[in-house]
C-alpha cells in the first residue's frame, strides 16, 4: 500500500522533472540561437496580417485556376503513382523480411536495415541527390517519393504481417499447406484492410510532400507556386495554396470513407 503510494508520488515528481527539463532545453536553445522570444511571439500576428493582405486571392487570380488545376492534378497523380508502385515493391520485401513469413534471419535483418535507410534520409535530401542524375523532371520527384515511401511501407507492412497474420500462418502450416498457399490464402486476405489503410495514408502524405518536391524538381504544383511567388504574384500563389489545401482535405475525406467501408 505505502509502496504503491510512494511509487505514484515518485512518478508525479518525475513528470514534473521532465516538463521542467523540456522548458530548460527550450530556453537554452533560444539563448544559443539568440532568438528573441518576445519579438518572435509579437511578430506572429503581423505575419498573418501580411499574409492576409498579400496572399488573398482576388478576382484576377481566378484566371490562373485552369493552370493551377492541371498542375495540381499532375502532382496528385505523381503521388498516387509513386505510392502504388512503392506498395507493390514493399509487400514483396515485407513478406521476405517479416519474422512470420521471412526467409532467414540474415534476410530479415537486411530488410530492416534497408527499410530504415530509405526512411531516414529526408525527402528533400533524396530529391537533391536524384536531381544530379535525373535533372529537373517529373521522374526525379516520382523516384524521391517512391524511395521514401518504400522505406515507410516496408516497415509498416512487416509489422502488420507480424501482428495480424502470425496465428493464421501457424494454423495453415499445421495443415500441411505450402509457403505460397499460406501467403495467398491466409496472410494476404488477413492483412488486406490494414494494407489498404496504410497505402491511403501514404497517398495523402505524398500529395503534401509532392508539392515540396515539385519546388525542387521544377514540376507540378510546387513549381507553379514557386513561379508565382518569385514573380510577386502573391494572389495567385495564395490561390495555389488554397487549391492544395482543398485537394488534401478532399483526399482525406475520401480515404476515410474508403477505410470505413473496408475495415
Amino acid at each position: 500500500m505505502t509502496g504503491s503510494i510512494k511509487y505514484l508520488s515518485q512518478k508525479h515528481w518525475r513528470q514534473t522533472g521532465v516538463i521542467a527539463l523540456v522548458g530548460a532545453i527550450y530556453l537554452i536553445c533560444s539563448w544559443i540561437l539568440q532568438y528573441n522570444n518576445l519579438a518572435g511571439i509579437t511578430a506572429v500576428p503581423k505575419a498573418f496580417a501580411w499574409l492576409g493582405t498579400n496572399f488573398m486571392p482576388t478576382a484576377d487570380s481566378m484566371s490562373h485556376v485552369p493552370q493551377i488545376w492541371t498542375k495540381l492534378m499532375q502532382t496528385v497523380l505523381l503521388a498516387i503513382a509513386s505510392t502504388v508502385v512503392a506498395a507493390v515493391i514493399a509487400i514483396f520485401v515485407a513478406l521476405l523480411g517479416s519474422k512470420v513469413t521471412g526467409f532467414n534471419w540474415v534476410v530479415q535483418t537486411a530488410t530492416r536495415g534497408i527499410a530504415s535507410f530509405f526512411r531516414n534520409i529526408p525527402l528533400v535530401a533524396w530529391a537533391m541527390i536524384l536531381l544530379f542524375s535525373f535533372k529537373q523532371s517529373d521522374f526525379t520527384g516520382f523516384l524521391a517519393l517512391l524511395l521514401m515511401s518504400v522505406g515507410y511501407l516496408i516497415r509498416a507492412f512487416m509489422e502488420i504481417i507480424e501482428d495480424e497474420a502470425s496465428e493464421t500462418t501457424l494454423a495453415l502450416k499445421a495443415t500441411g499447406a505450402s509457403y505460397f498457399q499460406i501467403i495467398f490464402q491466409a496472410v494476404l486476405p488477413q492483412i488486406l484492410p490494414s494494407l489498404i489503410s496504410w497505402v491511403l495514408y501514404m497517398i495523402e502524405n505524398n500529395v503534401r510532400d509532392a508539392t515540396l518536391v515539385g519546388i525542387l524538381t521544377g514540376t507540378g504544383i510546387g513549381f507553379i507556386f514557386d513561379l508565382y511567388y518569385k514573380s510577386f504574384r502573391f494572389d495567385a500563389a495564395g490561390m495555389t495554396v488554397l487549391a492544395i489545401i482543398l485537394v488534401v482535405i478532399i483526399l482525406e475525406v475520401l480515404s476515410n470513407q474508403i477505410r470505413k467501408v473496408i475495415l
Binding site: T168, L172, Q181, I183
Partner: protein, 251 residues
C-alpha cells in the same frame, strides 16, 4: 497408433523444456495433457507436428517417424494431423466455408491452393462437416462475425476435412464460456470415437480432463509425471503434479 519415444527439447542451453518424454496412444482415444503453466505442454504438442523442432527422440505415427521426414514428407505427415488453437487462428476476413476448406491445402498442388480452387467433392464435404459441427447456416458468413464457440467449431471442421489420424488441441476451451466449452469438448469426444482419431488436448481444467479424457498425461517441469487412465487419477498424484493439494478441482 502414435508413439513418442525419449523426446528431448531445450530452447536454451542447460534449460531443458522436455526431458525424456515417452508415451503411446491408441486410435479412438481422447488424451488430456495437464500440468502447471510452463511445464512444456505446448512444446510437446507442437513437436508432434514439428512446428517446433525438438532435439532428439522419436515420434512414430503408424510406425513412420515424423522427425526424420524431409520437407515434402513432412507436409504429407502434417496433413494427417489436425490442430486446434486457443485463439482459433482462423482467417477472420474470409467466410466460414473458405476457412474449412483451408484444411484441404495440404492435399492440393501449390497453384490450385494459391488460387483456392477446390473440387466439388471438397466443397460438399465441407458442408457436411459444417452440418456436423452445427454451423451449416453460417457457411457464407465471415468468421469475424462468429462467437468464440462458433469459431472453435469452424476450427474443428477445418481439422476434420484433413481426414486426420490425430487432432492436437492446445487449450481449446481456454477462451470460451462454460457452455461453449462443454459443446466443444463434447464434440471433440464424439468425433474422436466416430472417426477413430487420436485426440490430444492440453487442458488446465482437471475436472474437464477427467470428464472427457480416456487417458491423462501429467507434465511437470518438462518431465512426464504420470500417464494413466483418467479413472485412476488420484488426489495424491495431482498434488505431486502441482506441488499443492487440488481437492476441489477433482469434484
Amino acid at each position: 497408433m502414435l508413439e513418442v519415444k525419449n523426446l528431448e527439447k531445450s530452447y536454451q542451453k542447460d534449460k531443458t523444456a522436455l526431458k525424456d518424454i515417452s508415451f503411446s496412444i491408441e486410435p479412438g482415444k481422447f488424451v488430456a495433457i495437464i500440468g502447471p503453466s510452463g511445464a512444456g505442454k505446448t512444446t510437446i504438442l507442437r513437436s508432434l507436428n514439428q512446428l517446433i523442432k525438438d532435439d532428439s527422440g522419436q515420434i512414430l505415427l503408424d510406425n513412420q517417424d515424423l522427425r526424420t521426414a524431409n520437407k515434402a514428407e513432412l507436409r504429407k505427415h502434417r496433413r494427417q494431423i489436425g490442430m486446434i488453437f486457443q485463439n482459433y487462428n482462423l482467417v477472420e476476413r474470409l467466410t466460414v466455408i473458405e476457412n474449412v476448406l483451408h484444411g484441404r491445402l495440404g492435399y492440393k498442388s501449390t497453384l490450385a491452393g494459391v488460387f483456392g480452387r477446390y473440387t466439388e467433392d471438397e466443397k460438399k464435404e465441407a458442408m457436411v462437416l459444417l452440418d456436423k459441427v452445427g454451423l451449416k447456416e453460417f457457411a457464407l458468413q465471415r468468421c469475424s462475425e462468429l462467437s468464440g464457440g462458433q469459431k472453435q467449431r469452424v476450427g474443428i471442421a477445418r481439422s476434420l476435412i484433413q481426414h486426420p489420424k490425430v487432432i492436437l488441441c492446445d487449450e481449446p476451451i481456454a477462451s470460451l464460456d462454460p457452455i461453449s466449452a462443454q459443446t466443444v469438448m463434447q464434440l471433440l469426444k464424439e468425433l474422436t470415437e466416430e472417426f477413430n482419431i487420436i485426440c490430444i488436448a492440453n487442458l488446465h481444467q482437471i475436472n474437464i480432463a477427467k470428464k472427457y479424457a480416456d487417458q491423462i498425461i501429467g507434465i511437470r517441469k518438462g518431465e512426464l509425471v504420470f500417464d494413466e487412465p483418467a479413472a485412476d487419477l488420484s488426489e495424491a498424484t495431482l498434488a505431486e503434479l502441482y506441488d499443492q493439494p487440488v481437492t476441489k478441482e477433482l469434484k
